[in-house]
């Protein structure tokens, strides 16, 4: 069961890794092109987005997850907090310039903070659950062993060593 789960995880990691590798150059190219276009066409908005995305950048630098899930978590919410203001600014529907408007940064950074919290809290919670489950299983097994000794005597815990094939093994 456990071995099956391990394989699943390994396959999933392998799959993700291969997709990421394949798409990485295209993503970089697309991102760089978009950034340059944006910097040329809407410099104020582009600078806002760059400044608002600093937490994502920081997370990308310290993220130890091979699949960059920390960056994804932080980046998704960070971007979700800054992108509406950039779009509204481009569409002219915003009274303030996002680059100089604190509220636009609050949303972006707040999103980044929530992303960081979720990224660290959920695995921590699951590990806690696993530890409690394991402690409970150990207690159950120990109690069962005590019950067996009580029912059958100390002999039940003796291990009979089989030396019949020792010569072959040697």
């Amino acid at each position: 069961m456990k071995r099956g789960a391990d394989n699943l995880v390994a396959r999933a990691q392998q799959r993700s890794r291969s997709w990421a590798k394949r798409l990485a150059p295209a993503a970089w190219l697309l991102g760089a092109t978009s950034a340059i276009l944006m910097l040329v066409m809407w410099p104020m908005t582009a600078i806002y987005l760059a400044v608002a995305s600093l937490p994502t950048l920081a997370m990308a630098l310290v993220d130890d997850d091979p699949e960059r899930r920390g960056t994804l978590c932080v980046g998704a919410l960070n971007f979700a907090g800054s992108l509406p203001f950039a779009l509204l600014s481009l569409g002219g529907g915003l009274k303030y310039v996002p680059l100089t408007w604190g509220t636009a940064y609050v949303y972006a950074y707040l999103g980044a903070v929530v992303g960081i919290v979720l990224y660290f809290a959920i695995p921590f919670l699951l590990r806690r659950i696993v530890r409690v489950e394991e402690e409970r299983e150990k207690r159950r097994l120990t109690e069962r062993q005590e019950a067996l000794v009580e029912e059958w005597g100390a002999n039940v815990s003796s291990i009979k060593l089989d030396f019949s094939r020792s010569d072959e093994i040697r």
Binding site: K2, A5, D6, V9, D65, R69, G70, L72, C73, V74, A76, L77, F79, A80, G81, L83, P84, F85, L87, L88, G93, L94, Y107, G111, V114, G115, L118, Y119, A121, I122, P123, F124, L125, L126, R127, I129, V130, R131, E133, E134, E137, K138, L141, T142, R144, Q145, L148, V149, E150, E151, W152, G153, N155, V156, S157, S158, I159
Partner: protein, 675 residues
């Protein structure tokens, strides 16, 4: 028979309580009957409760004496004027705490007629024939019909039948082994040579010789050769013949001349038989035996400073000096002499062949070689080996005697059986056409003796030979020697009592051999009884055997034996593993031991189904315990592994959650700030 109850020779009662034998007789241990007491048995007054006027005496076998139980069964109730009437017999609980064998006889009138060194008025020949020889001959005929010989006809066992002294009777014959108390004067020569306890059951022919010798003593009014001991009597009889040795210069009455010549003939084949004697008593004139003498050598054989002229003399002399006999045989002295001087060519040839160094006669050692040489020199004599002289059909009482009081002779019996001398003796008798050759009917039993003597398994050995040869012999184990144990059923209470005394523990070779001989036990069970390295199967077999005996013979409670058996089956009990089962079995076992119920004990420990279920349960529990231990041992690794998985899945979950939340945030913020 004496009238009026108690015999005048009894002592005053000493207050001991009466000992019952069945419902009919009561024995008074305080009142002895001196006239009937012998070295083999004490005699006490007995009371017949159905006929209080009948004077009875109980012969109580002394400790370590073995009465003729089989003969008792055969002659019980035989009412004949020639002999004392045996009214009843059986083991009784004696006041000293032992169980002894009692034989109730009608008491004769007065003391024994003629003791050694005493003298009486010679009895008239006609009266002797009418009042002694004739009734005793009729009694012997009845004994023959019942398959026993009397073997105790001698002057000090002859009594007046009544106070009127009208008839004579011979006294009890069952107090000891057949012929054991017969002086050499009153035994046929070939039996007189034997050790007293090794003379065998004998036949009517032997009784007829004893009758002739006893009649001679009564006719003379004194014992023949009264001053001579047995070896001197034997030597004299070999030298000059029965008649000259016993009668000397006595001139017998004319009426008894033929009788003495017929009954005291030197050659057993010529001696009168019972029909011949009956014919003579009826007034006939039977053929008289030819006057023969032992074939004497042309020159004497010098051995140990004495000169011998007959094979029998030399055989007896050699048997008494085994080491010198071996020297005479090995050096060829004896072979040279027999070649030169012995008239019996067959015997001479045999002795010469056996004396050769490469002869197979010497394969079993010097004692067996001497025995074979003696057998060749005296074919009708007993087996002489290492100082003992027994006939194979007399081995049982002789061997019993050896176990009881002469253990130093046991190796001689062992050598005899191992060398197969008993079989060679039977062959010799058949070849010589001796009457003793009839012993061949027991040949099959004799053939097995060697195997029993040599087999190194429980239930074998000399003890097995002993109990096989005499099916009525009680068990001679020190555990129960005082309890007269005649059947395996009697054995259990005796062992239980002995264990309670605490002085003896365990089952010895006698008990094993006794059980094996009485068909009560197989080898596996005996192995368990004897302890040692017995395996579980043997231990359980022994408990099964004891439980079976307890149930079969309706033996009561045996708490001490049950306690011993608990030790025996403890290894079996320890095979149970479940603690609650062990406690339950222990409780049940204690209850069974307390009740002395071996069958209950057996049913507790011999429960194969429960044992198998316990074993399966234990194996399952062991496996469960082991897998739990394995799981606990890997707990840290498992925790680490599952933690890693939790981290991975947590991050995935966080990614999905933040993705969803990001989508919602994006549209929420967009909606909030749209103009």
């Amino acid at each position: 028979m004496a009238e009026g109850g108690e015999n005048p020779t009894t002592r005053a009662p000493t207050g001991s309580r009466d000992v019952p034998l069945g419902e009919r007789f009561k024995i008074r241990p305080g009142q002895t009957v001196m006239d009937l007491a012998t070295p083999a048995a004490e005699a006490f007054v007995a009371v017949d409760q159905t006929q209080p006027d009948t004077a009875c005496a109980a012969l109580i076998a002394r400790p370590e004496q073995l009465p003729r139980v089989s003969a008792c069964s055969q002659i019980k109730g035989l009412n004949h004027v020639g002999g004392a009437k045996l009214l009843d017999h059986g083991p009784v609980d004696w006041p000293d705490g032992t169980r002894r064998y009692a034989m109730i006889y009608e008491t004769p009138a007065g003391a024994a007629l003629l003791r050694r060194n005493a003298a009486i008025q010679p009895i008239d020949a006609r009266m002797l024939v009418r009042n002694f020889i004739s009734p005793v001959a009729q009694m012997l005929a009845e004994y023959v019909r019942r398959g026993v010989a009397h073997r105790a006809i001698r002057p000090d066992n002859v009594f007046w039948y009544d106070f009127g002294q009208s008839k004579l009777i011979v006294g009890p014959c069952t107090a000891g082994p057949p012929g054991a108390r017969q002086p050499a004067q009153f035994e046929p020569l070939e039996l007189a040579i034997c050790d007293p306890y090794g003379r065998g059951p004998g036949t009517a022919a032997d009784d007829i010789y004893s009758l002739g010798a006893t009649a001679l003593a009564l006719a003379m009014g004194r014992w023949p050769m009264a001053d001579a001991d047995d070896p001197a009597v034997i030597e004299r009889r070999i030298e000059v013949g029965n008649w000259d040795a016993l009668a000397g210069k006595y001139n017998p009455p004319f009426e008894l001349y033929d009788f003495f010549r017929g009954t005291l003939a030197d050659d057993p084949a010529e001696r009168w038989t019972l029909p011949t004697l009956t014919k003579w008593l009826d007034g006939g004139r039977p053929t008289l035996p030819r006057i023969t003498s032992f074939a004497k050598a042309r020159e004497p054989f010098l051995f140990e400073g004495k000169l011998y002229r007959t094979g029998r003399e030399i055989a007896v002399a050699l048997s008494k000096n085994p080491s010198q006999a071996t020297a005479a045989i090995r050096t060829g002295t004896l072979a040279d002499w027999v070649r030169r001087a012995l008239p019996d060519d067959i015997a001479a040839k045999k002795v010469q062949t056996m004396s050769l160094p490469e002869s197979p006669a010497g394969r079993d050692g010097d004692p067996a070689l001497v025995a074979r040489i003696c057998m060749a020199l005296d074919p009708s004599g007993p087996i002489h080996i290492s100082g003992i002289a027994v006939r194979p059909d007399g081995v049982a009482p002789a061997l019993a005697r050896a176990y009881l009081s002469a253990r130093d002779t046991l190796p001689a019996y062992d050598s005899m059986f191992r060398a197969g001398l008993h079989l060679e003796w039977v062959s010799t008798q058949q070849a010589a056409q001796n009457p003793a050759g009839r012993t061949a009917r027991k040949l099959s039993a004799y053939e097995r003796l060697s195997r029993w003597a040599m087999e190194p398994v429980p239930g074998s050995g000399l003890e097995r030979c002993l109990y096989e040869l005499d099916q009525r012999l009680p068990c001679l184990s020190p555990l129960c020697i005082d309890q007269w144990v005649e059947s395996p059923g009697d054995l259990l209470p005796a062992i239980d009592a002995a264990i309670a005394d605490g002085d003896q523990k365990g089952f010895d070779r006698h008990i094993a051999a006794f059980m094996a001989a009485r068909g009560a036990a197989d080898e596996t069970a005996l192995k368990g009884l004897m302890g040692g390295a017995a395996d579980e199967e043997a231990r359980m077999a022994s408990l099964r055997l004891l439980a079976h005996l307890q149930e079969t013979y309706l033996v009561g409670s045996l708490p001490n034996l049950a306690a011993q058996c608990a030790v025996l089956v403890r290894p079996t009990l320890e095979q149970f593993q479940r603690i609650s089962t062990k406690e339950l079995i222990a409780r049940k076992s204690e209850a069974a031991i307390g009740q002395g119920d071996l069958q209950a004990l057996l049913s507790i420990v011999d429960d194969r189904v429960a044992l198998e279920a316990d074993k399966k349960g234990f194996d399952s529990a062991k496996n469960e315990y082991a897998s739990a231990s394995e799981r606990l041992g890997k707990s840290d690794l498992v925790l680490l592994d599952r933690g890693r998985q939790a981290t991975y899945r947590g991050r995935e979950t966080a990614t999905l959650a933040t993705g969803s939340l990001a989508l919602a945030t994006f549209f929420g913020v967009l909606a909030a700030y749209l103009p």
